[in-house]
Amino acid sequence: MNIIVCIKQVPDTTEVKLDPKTGTLIRDGVPSIINPDDKSGLEAALKLKDDLGAHVTVLTMGPQQAEVALREALAMGADRAILLTDRAFAGADTWATSCTLAAAINKIDYDLIIAGRQAIDGDTAQVGPQIAEHLKLPQVSYVEGLKVEGSSLILKRVFEDRYHLVKVKTPCLITTLKEMNEPRYMSVGGIIDAYREKEIEVWNLKDIEVDHSNLGLKGSPTKVKKSFTKGVKTAGKLYEVGHKEAAKIIVEKLKEKYII
């Protein structure tokens, strides 16, 4: 089984701050991590490697420094890593990103494509499903459980209040939730191999076949007009009471606002 896992390097938003003036993220000095939903997707792929001997390729589009995320994936146990990088790809929205990733995936053998549900720096949840559309593949999103049954997968697709068990034939694309599993650590030997033995394949525009009008900022239909931090409308009220009294007040207030 050949698996492609699409990952994104993102700023660790638990340590990120917003610039109050511009409303944008202050990325300086913030550590970069593999997007959590993607990391669980990678863990799911590595489990299939452990159990069935699957071959795992990790793919990312990003600047040169996204290489670190790929090395981390190799250190966790991925077999192959591809970095899609080109100035032409820069500034892409989800449409341009999915067009570029789909073009790259067209050049790789696969039975299963795994993408994280959404990235913590954008929260769109669009790139995975769009890739499936470009490649005309069946897709199952919001996956929290996965079992292989012959050439099909039994997937647990999670909703807010219920789940579906879906059977889907490969090849297909799934998007995974971080709640799916607890990703393994890198191993010491894995890190050493990732830097000394394995290579990151770097693909540029010339390495993929793609409609150039769908690339980068120019190929992005989404335009961000303004981003801002939501202001606080009214001052909060502080109650210094015991926990029972506090619960009562909370319930009252929620009822008052018709939330419950």
């Binding site: 670190v68 191993s187 010491v188 050493i192 990732a194």
Partner: protein, 379 residues
Amino acid sequence: MNFNLTKEQIMLQQLYREFAEKEVKPLAEEIDEKEMFPIETVEKLVRYGFMGIPFPKTYGGAGGDAVAYTMAVEELSRVCATTGVIVSAHTSLGAVPIYEFGTEEQKQKYLVPLAKGEKLGAFGLTEANAGTDAAAQQTTAILEGDYYILNGSKIFITNAGYADTYIIMAMTDKSAGTRGISAFIVDAETEGFKIGKKEAKLGIKGSATCELIFENCKIPKENLLGKEGKGFGIAMKTLDGGRIGIAAQALGIAQGALDATVSYVKERKQFGKPISYFQNTQFQLADMATKIEAARLLVYKAAYKKDTNQPYSKDAAMAKLYASEVAMEITTKAVQLHGGYGYTREYAVERMMRDAKITEIYEGTSEVQKMVISADLLR
């Protein structure tokens, strides 16, 4: 000269920290309180390759080096000194002598499972009457046919009882002094090999420290490590390397105590403000951080010299002497800055201060390190 970590070292440090924070730190208090050897943590350390960091992949190791190993012991000890010494004694004392002095057969049979972490290693030199005077060995190994017959006992052995493979020093020729000492690889399953009294200790309480007893143990001739009579040299060279591990442990303890203190002084209020606002606190922290950084440079340099095949005996002694004394000083100051709370089990610095003391004693006391350093100066 370059003081920057490589990208590989930065990623290793990231792994070590994450693993230490999530898997080791939550258990540190309990294993100290209950004097409990953390078997489950060791299993996880095995899974992620911590037990064979400096050995080549061909021998089951992670393919790293002394610096990578040193950083691991440092980061583990930063949250739990017990876990740090388990890895250090296993690697530096149990496995390294086989890697450096063993035959190819011995490496295949004993080093590979140690480096993979399938087996745990330990080392026995110290005896009741042979501590700093390590040459006063009483344990004997007499060759009879295809076996050496081992008789005697060792004390204060780290990982004892949990280890599968022990490197044991014994006298093969009592008349020859240090030249009569030989090194052996002893299987824990050997008949007549028993684990004696377990020590109740001041610190590193989760680490198993016991007596080893040998009663007519038949050690196959092929388990002689190196040549007969060369055991003292093997032990001394092994301890040179081991000292880097203990120096790293001391460094980690000191850093952990500083980390805890920095957060505490920002929270603790006296006279209406956090105690971090007082210049006494600030100056203490500055001194602590500076000494820790100096210790770190000594420790990493000793490891670097080992990796680049330079003589490192003096460097390892300096690193251990300084880092262990810094650990004792910093943990003591950390308790002082925590005040009364620091003296209680509520706060980790109490444990850290108890853990720090041993780093000035084992694998050569501070006095032994001074002997090594001055011998190099005066030769």
